[in-house]
């Protein structure tokens, strides 16, 4: 089987290995490393992760599917994860979600046809003092309102 993950992934694992008493403890870091490269985790990537840690791909999937941050379905170039938990809702997060749904004619959890945007609802991001907040790919955007969100989206090519 030819390798789909880069040397960077394997080097990353090697660097972390002495930090843990078991190899399977590397599974979460491995999933993060892989997703940084591939944006989502198709079955063949899960298989390669399993092979690199000496565990069955089913075990990889069992663990990956427990956590919301591992994308087991393809995502768009820009993944908006809008927090709609209590503090953000109190500050208008619902309207942000509704605005995006209308703007792109998709529902939460879906991706635009051009594969540019994926819209997700997110549970509390720990940014309640600067609510409403969202993640755009790996970064935080805080103190949002519809105008600010639109301005931000306009900058995304």
């Amino acid at each position: 089987m030819s390798k789909l993950l880069s040397q960077k992934y394997y080097d990353g694992l090697k660097k972390l290995e002495p930090r843990y008493p078991t190899k399977v403890a590397l599974l979460l870091p491995a999933l993060h490393l892989a997703q940084e490269e591939t944006y989502w985790l198709p079955p063949e990537i899960l298989e390669e992760i399993g092979a690199s840690l000496g565990i069955h791909p089913a075990q990889v999937r069992e663990v990956a599917s427990f956590y919301t941050m591992y994308n087991l379905k393809p995502v768009g170039k820009y993944h908006l994860k809008i927090c709609t938990n209590v503090a953000c809702c109190l500050r208008g997060a619902d309207e942000l979600v509704e605005h995006c749904e209308k703007k792109w004619d998709i529902k939460c959890g879906e991706t635009t046809k051009d594969k540019k945007f994926t819209l997700s609802e997110e549970e509390c991001l720990g940014a309640c003092g600067t609510a409403p907040a969202m993640m755009l790919n790996d970064g935080y955007c805080e103190n949002l309102d519809i105008k600010k969100l639109d301005q931000l989206l306009d900058t995304l090519k």
Partner: protein
């Protein structure tokens, strides 16, 4: 008011580098002092300080350290719980992004006190930036000999690794966290054995919250007695970082002497009052799992025992404020949806009950509720409460019971009117 604040004056980007920590915060002087002490004396100092866990349970930290066996065939571990997953809580994020070295120093001292050489910071996956900041601080600390082999020439070794979670509320529960650290699903374990006996990788483990561990260098430098006296109530030492959010004019992290202010003071004096000068409807005083308070109950002192006395909890010191024009049924629907989503699914009462409560509250909010739905909700909540492996079940039941009891009229208006009066 806090007579002296330990943290917030340092909550800015300038404070992040090691140079600042050394120059302005007596950085790594506590570890130097601690490594010259007997490990038991450190634990005793922490016991004297009345430091209680800042993650939510409020368990005395010194006592927790005292449970770790002296001799162990397996390595012992210090695990920092930086999952900060309780909705409404964001204080640990500030600690990590502004004063990362304080956490590292606290962990080294904790390691020395319990006889451990290995530390992990389990940080929630969403805090990508904070994880990078910690990694950079760890690198700085290794380079200067504050971490690694033979720390400050004392012969003591300690390593710290940042371990990122990946989006699961339940990993804030300490045994769920440990499973996640071991590369498994973050499902809580059956206790006993408690982590102090068999925690990470089967070894004796102390799991402490970020704020808890960062209090330790202050305690070592200035003494447990000094720390205890910062607190204004008998059992709670130190200052508390409070995450204030929702409908207040000035949301943010505030630091107060433990037990020194009421909820009213927090909202009106610190938070600047309610947005738009509206009336207060409700306060969720300790993260979303804390039973709700009405506007009439906010003269309670904001600390562990006074809040327990009025039937709620301080939890992670996250206060969410709700003004008069926000629908409390909608609010409870959102809270319950969260717990239904985050239930790990191991225990039937929680897995089935949380989803059921969510469905019932949703139909009430949308005007399809029935008269018998309110007793039904209380019954489901009662069937979850105390009947699950971990506290998530109780966390879901508490809000439902308290909202229905305290805002019954709002629920009844939805049911009788066939719609949300606010819609």
């Amino acid at each position: 008011m806090a007579s002296e604040t330990l943290y917030i004056q340092h909550f800015n980007e300038e404070a992040r580098p090691l140079a600042y920590y050394l120059a302005k915060m007596n950085g790594y002087t506590a570890v130097k002092k601690a490594l010259a002490m007997q490990p038991d004396d450190i634990t005793n100092e922490v016991k004297k300080s009345n430091l209680r866990g800042r993650g939510g349970a409020g368990f005395p930290t010194g006592m927790k350290w005292g449970f770790i066996p002296k001799q162990s065939a397996k390595p012992k571990y210090v695990v920092c719980n930086a999952d900060e997953s309780e909705p409404g809580t964001f204080k640990d994020r500030d600690i990590m992004r502004y004063t990362p070295h304080l956490l590292l120093e606290g962990m080294v001292i904790a390691g020395y006190a319990i006889g451990s050489n290995i530390g992990y910071i389990y940080i929630r996956g969403e805090y990508t930036r904070e994880a990078k900041i910690l990694d950079a601080a760890i690198e700085e600390a290794y380079a200067k000999g504050y971490l690694g082999k033979n720390i400050l020439g004392t012969g003591f070794n300690f390593d710290i690794t940042v371990h990122r979670g990946a989006g699961a509320y339940i990993c804030g529960e300490e045994t769920g966290l440990l499973n996640s650290l071991e590369g498994k699903r973050g499902e809580p374990r059956v206790k006993p054995p408690f982590p102090a006996i068999a925690g990470a990788f089967g070894g004796p483990t102390v799991v402490n919250n970020v704020e808890t561990l960062t209090n330790v260098p202050f305690i070592i430098n200035r003494g447990g007695e000094w720390f205890a006296k910062l607190g204004k109530l008998e059992k709670s030492g130190g200052t508390r970082l409070i995450s204030l959010s929702g409908h207040v004019k000035k949301p943010g992290v505030y630091e107060v002497d433990a037990g020194s202010i009421t909820i009213r003071q927090l909202i009106y004096d610190y938070g600047g009052g309610i947005l738009g000068d509206k009336k207060l409807k409700a306060v969720i005083p300790g993260g979303s799992s804390a039973p709700v308070l009405t506007a009439d109950e906010i003269d309670a002192v904001y600390d562990i025992e006074p809040l327990m006395k009025i039937g709620t909890m301080m939890g992670s010191a996250a206060v969410m404020v709700v003004s008069e024009d926000y629908c409390v049924v909608k609010l409870l629907q959102r809270i319950t949806k969260f717990y239904a989503h985050e239930s790990c699914g191991q225990c039937t009462p929680c897995r089935e009950g949380c989803k059921w409560m969510e469905d019932v509250i949703e139909r009430i909010e949308h005007g399809h509720g029935r008269e018998q739905d309110l007793p039904l909700l209380l019954e489901i909540a009662d069937n979850i409460n105390g009947k699950t492996l971990c506290a998530l079940g109780d966390a879901a039941a508490g809000p439902v019971i308290s909202f229905v009891k305290k805002f019954r009229a709002d629920f009844e208006a939805h049911i009788r009117g066939g719609k949300c009066p606010n819609a």
